[in-house]
Symmetry: C2
């Protein structure tokens, strides 16, 4: 029954974010440092994210499995870059069953090593390849500064781990899964993303190449929303994952890994949310529509509830529907409450609507008069489907327009400085870590990615002026 208001985005975006996450009941702080509780409404959103991804993984030939939470410390040390990258972030179990352990166990920060060990056991012949496995799991990375969904010590994610006979196949898989992530972001989450390669500095510890999808949040910062790594033979060598090829020669496999986490919930909040609360894409929303009956007398109530029952019958099975018939709350209070929770479509039914054989539809993505219209009760199911599709499209278009409005193509360092102060700067980059570091030092921006989609050509590096063959996307990031 709280009436407290969200901090406006313009006042303090960061507070707006944590207000929304808590007031819309997505998550709560836990008594364990850096760990959050995902509340039922937030978890249902995550279930839809999970199902949308899982369906796509299965359609591309992947199967799920489950590997241990604990990893022997010695495993992490087998891949030099990997252990260096993850060491500062580890949670370590040193006591089990009341006894000091001989070898400490790391709570998995990611599972390349333990899975690598198992793959070495499972893979013998080229006939065992490709091996296309995904895992849904919790992972732990000790974080100093945490934010709900965006950076927490424990988070939920999926991690795909595949092994292939050839480099070409593994590279193809890496990009295929990047494409799956983009497809999910665009078509389920209504989030436009930039597909690209990470710089050497920003890539995954142990990868040959890391790819990413990068989205622009409402404060014009970038959020890395999914990554796909070509691991070459790095882990295959570290864990001795070999196979006999068709000529009976022993070879190391080529591996990939790719992941999307509960961070995606943060991406949804910050791409679409406004000062009234969440705005959820219809494919992912726990409820796609909420019915709010409006009445003043008992006579009106029974009339209206009859129409509500008809609406429910018409939409059941095709729309995730919530009927909010709580008697102790006013329609206005309910409108605000469901706006806060980002339900894409509100269906209002009052006595006059019943008389006219219609309902009022109000779109969350277009607050106010502009987003309201009546719809006849007859044929409501298809009107609602059409409107949900239109909402999705509008949300995507708006997010894309926003990103484009805050993306510039600077030629020099001053331009780049201005670009990243406002959003993304797409600039020629010579590829040197020194230029990358200079940008970070002076502007706080990093290379989000080197976009896959590039016009060919050459230009001067925005930092050092050297002739460069590629543009990079610079931006401040979460």
């Amino acid at each position: 029954m709280m009436a407290s208001k969200v901090t406006p985005q313009s006042e303090d975006y960061s507070r707006w974010y944590t207000d929304i996450v808590q007031m819309a009941d997505l998550a709560d702080y836990s008594p364990v440092r850096g760990c959050m509780v995902i509340k039922p409404y937030g978890y249902t959103l995550w279930e839809h994210i999970r199902d949308g991804l899982d369906r796509r993984f299965k359609a591309t030939g992947h199967v799920n499995a489950y590997f241990p939470l604990f990893i022997p410390m010695s495993f992490l040390q087998k891949e030099a870059e990997h252990v260096e990258g993850f060491s500062p972030e580890l949670a370590v179990v040193t006591v089990g069953g009341g006894k000091e352990l001989e070898e400490p166990l790391v709570v998995r920060p990611t599972s390349e090593t333990i899975i690598g060990h198992m793959y070495a056991k499972w893979i013998q012949s080229y006939r065992d390849l490709p091996l296309l496995i995904n895992q849904w799991a919790n992972v732990v990375r000790w974080e100093m500064r945490t934010r709900l969904f965006l950076r927490t010590t424990e988070f939920l994610w999926q991690e795909g781990h595949t092994a292939h006979a050839t480099e070409a196949e593994a590279r193809e898989e890496t990009l295929r899964m990047l494409g799956v992530y983009t497809d999910f972001a665009v078509n389920d989450a209504a989030i436009p993303v930039l597909e690209g390669r990470k710089s050497e500095t920003e890539k995954f510890a142990g990868a040959v190449v890391s790819y990413t999808i990068e989205a622009m949040m409402g404060d014009r910062r970038a959020l890395q929303s999914g990554t796909s790594h070509f691991l070459g033979q790095n882990f295959a060598r570290a864990f001795d994952i070999t196979f006999s090829d068709e000529n009976n020669a022993l070879q190391h496999v080529w591996t990939t890994s790719w992941g999307v986490s509960t961070r995606m919930v943060g991406a949804v909040v910050m791409t679409h949310g406004d000062d009234q609360g969440l705005v959820l894409p219809p494919k992912l929303a726990p409820y796609q529509a909420v019915v709010v009956p409006i009445w003043r007398s008992d006579d009106e109530l029974s009339l209206v509830l009859e129409a509500v029952a008809q609406v429910k019958a018409a939409l059941e099975g095709s729309v995730r529907l919530k009927v909010d018939d709580r008697a102790e709350l006013s329609p206005g209070w309910k409108f605000n409450d469901w706006e806060m929770r980002g339900v894409p479509l509100r269906i209002e039914i009052g006595p006059r609507d019943v008389q006219n054989g219609q309902v009022m539809l109000a779109r969350r993505d277009r607050p106010g008069r502009e987003g309201k219209r009546t719809a006849p009760l007859a044929g409501l199911a298809s009107a609602v489907q059409d409107m949900l599709a239109a909402i999705h499209q509008n949300m995507y278009d708006r997010a894309l327009a926003f990103r484009e409005a805050h993306t510039t193509y600077p030629d020099d360092f001053e331009g780049l400085r201005e670009a990243v102060a406002d959003g993304f700067g797409v600039a020629w980059w010579c590829g040197s870590a020194a230029c990358e570091a200079k940008v970070k030092e002076e502007t706080g921006a990093t290379i989000r990615c080197i976009p896959l989609d590039q016009e060919s050509g050459h230009g001067p590096c925005a930092v050092c002026g050297e002739t460069s063959a590629e543009r990079a996307v610079f931006g401040r990031a979460y």
Copy 2:
């Protein structure tokens, strides 16, 4: 391509079990003591178990959420029986981010305490009740002697945690969820179960009453397959979970918890499996039917593959189907392979079948000639559905008959000793822990449950002869 054979049940049941679990690709040992790897085939089986339960939880008004993996050690100590019960089994994180932690964190063995802490924060008024939350998660209990699926240091499970305004409501919920488990066991897993109450000795650490579903495995031992606990106000008091009732008086809530784990996979294996391998209930099987084309020449092959395509088209969407058209393997080899993996129905298609417009159906639950019959291609979908339903029923009936054949009703201690040597003994019990302990000491059997379904009446305790009002089910257990 292994041709190794399963150890027969009659020779060594325990080896038969681990043979099956590994040879049917359900799970594998991991390099981490006591932790297993759930392989894709086993994980898919678990996904169907999970979905079957999750659907039932949602239909009874529950929602999912997610709570932290780590629990401050001090939380466990707040409920005296709880900490005593779980202390010997804890895995403890003492180092995080490179530093010794001030307070060690326990890797959750179960989540009553951390959830209790959050409920105290979330629940204010009677309007917040009941709170009906379930969590799908991994938990860790340090086990000395482990067995794949049955007892592993880490396992997957769901744990429901509910809070109610009244004792009656909480007791009702406890039994409702026991009923949900029974419904799942019977209708999805084809496993007959006994519903009952645990003795004081065997109940959950911190519960007022624990209920259980107990199943009889193929070696006539009992497997506890799901539990539902009425926790009274024990955790509400320990974590100060209170609410204002309708008269504005402050009261402690009443809580329940209930869980089913990956152990259910072991129950499926040991209830139905035979010396040829797994026998999977159709509702849970990763593949419900496998199509094996049979051919000798290329001409036959193209003829047969055409029919396979027809079968596929006819069954797609209604049956989880696998087409095994691997050219390098003989039909006989494939038959054995899919029998090992327990696929309920095999559909054989040879050139003669094509000519006759039919296929051969072979049931896994009835090996040999008896389980084979032809079915016309026309109307195949409904014939397959009928057969899957018949397979489920037969599997259930057979398991029930087996349990009944190995259940006796002894009147005295000698009779009880014989009863538990063969299976279950249902005997009058005076309720004393001393009699319970004597049975355990002398026969190795424990009280599996005091069945809910009891004829009223009285009889002499099978151990001490004292007049008793209830019968208990005794049996040796996993």
